[in-house]
């Protein structure tokens, strides 16, 4: 795991979630910029996943490889799904739907970091 990417992912997810909930609270629909930010977050996660996947081959031995890769896949599935749900019915609640997915991504990025750093060297 690239530490600064993890930090960026968690911080970015939390920021996106905060903006998403704020949009809902202020009765606004997510605009193109917000969607672009959600995709940027997803792309960052994808970059991280590729790096981790390459590093995991011949790298430190993970104690729970199946759990680790499960989180990796799940962290990539959540946001595209939420964006679809949010777009299918455009309303003030779209921002909160994306915020829920962003929170899930933050949690999973944290779990991935934990599992990675607890791997034996």
């Amino acid at each position: 795991m690239i530490t600064f990417l993890v930090v960026a992912l968690v911080a970015g997810s939390l920021l996106l979630a905060a903006v998403g909930f704020l949009l809902t609270a202020r009765d606004r629909q997510p605009g193109g910029l917000f969607r672009a930010a959600a995709w940027l977050l997803w792309a960052t996660m994808a970059v991280q996943a590729v790096i981790v996947f390459v590093a995991a081959r011949g790298g430190p031995k993970l104690s729970e490889p199946i759990t680790f890769f499960g989180y990796l896949v799940a962290s990539l599935v959540v946001m595209p799904f939420a964006l679809r749900v949010a777009t299918a019915e455009e309303s003030r609640w779209s921002g909160a739907v994306i915020a829920v997915a962003a929170l899930a991504m933050a949690a999973m990025a944290g779990r991935l970091q934990f599992l990675w750093s607890s791997a034996g060297g």
Binding site: T24, E64, I66, T67, G70, Y71, A74, V77, V78, F81, A82, V85, A86, E89, S91, W93, S94, A96, V97, V100, A101, A104
Partner: protein, 130 residues
């Protein structure tokens, strides 16, 4: 009013995340270390099924889905209360964590909050009595 619209979409999204997380976790537990704590892992699997059914029930607008959602969310609340209380009262019986252990402590207590929100939402969107 259908349960999967407006604020209900946020609830459905949260349930979908939990359905994914619980299913994946139960699958890993049962496939890799089932014999170490069969009861806890069976409960994980039950929780996963409940979350999947609740997601479907809340997302769909068919009348039968509402009954499914009531049942699934009700079972979920009973499950998190029972397992939460038991895991604190008799920790030895729960050597391994489930989603519902300690009232969902490992998941920011969301497993306790979600069914309450779900039941309130189902009541709020209940069709008017004929």
């Amino acid at each position: 009013m259908p349960t999967g619209t407006g604020p209900g979409r946020v609830l459905v999204a949260a349930y979908a995340v939990f359905a994914l997380a619980a299913t994946a976790r139960a699958a890993v537990q049962i496939s890799t270390k089932f014999s170490t704590a069969p009861l806890a892992y069976l409960l994980s699997a039950l929780a996963a099924v409940v979350y999947i059914l609740a997601t479907i029930g809340l997302a769909s607008s068919r009348p039968v889905a509402r009954r499914l959602a009531w049942t699934a969310v009700g079972v979920e609340l009973l499950g998190v209360l029972a397992v939460g209380a038991l895991s604190i009262a008799v920790p030895d019986a729960f050597p391994a964590d489930t989603v519902w252990s300690g009232f969902g402590r490992g998941y920011g207590f969301l497993p306790l909050v979600l069914p309450v929100l779900g039941l309130l939402w189902l009541r709020r969107t209940r069709p008017a009595a004929p």
